[in-house]
Symmetry: C2
Subunit: 188 residues, 2 copies
Amino acid sequence: MAQQQSKTLNGVDVDGLLQSINVIQKEPSVAKFNFRAKNEWVSGSESRTTINDFYGAGKTHVRSKPFVFTKDEPPVLLGKDHGANPVEYALTALAGCVTTTLIFHAAAKGVKINKVESTLEGDIDIRGLLNLDDSVKVGYESIQMNFKIDSDASEETLHELIELGKKHSPVANTITNATPVNITLSKT
Amino acid sequence: MAQQQSKTLNGVDVDGLLQSINVIQKEPSVAKFNFRAKNEWVSGSESRTTINDFYGAGKTHVRSKPFVFTKDEPPVLLGKDHGANPVEYALTALAGCVTTTLIFHAAAKGVKINKVESTLEGDIDIRGLLNLDDSVKVGYESIQMNFKIDSDASEETLHELIELGKKHSPVANTITNATPVNITLSKT
């Protein structure tokens, strides 16, 4: 058994996935995760976020090496373009989450996927950011995501997978539902 | 005039900021931006997002070099940890956006900030992702962000800046309001 390779589909360890589901169904607290980030302002629009540890499946996990992300604004938004800007990071988060969710659900259903590409876009009117007009929406008006999927599955199946990808994606749900953000200040 | 350095505070070009506000007040269409991302699935939970161009202030801007981000999941979520995961990218986006918004508003108000650090965290129950329980929230339950700010400004001013940072941050608003995400499938 130790030598036996587990069944994978779309690069997903399907046996591991079914085993995880089994464990969670017996003990739902295993499904509780807490994700964390630390951010440090550099100058102007530039800041740096470090992702290192998280809690999940009953314990804290620390990465072998933290992931570090520089955010900045392009010159037209008064930055130095040292990194993608935060609203572009939000699209990055959404893109990855819907894609992974779709791939996991395809694997669970036995649907082989060969290739997935997507493009995302969203409009923002920066009068909201600049506090120039209270009637202007501050965040994305809406976000459009378009998939191109290469698979032998029927178009109906692919549409169903896209629906599952959206319905069960944590980032998509964080965006499409009103998710509370609580901000506090500690004394230094 | 060409030799004169413009006034900066907190690394923000305050003259440039006031000039932008002036231009937008005369011609609000200048404030319209469209941000874009392309994503390519790699395998399993791994995908790669490319950020290259965006539209704003009346034209398309292309970066000298695209920003490329790898997303993956840690082993406990059946990935290979080749990158931070999408919900961690979402915290990264939020961290940068509230920080930059706060810094810009501080600069506009003439408040000097020496240092800003923040920690973020949010709970996710992955039974939503795995489609195991319809009553479980799929996205973040809520997100907690805690700031430590070093500044000579009063605590009242710092609280006010944090409020402005949250109220006028495009990413915070994308999350705290229900933002529509439309997903379509193109035939390959």
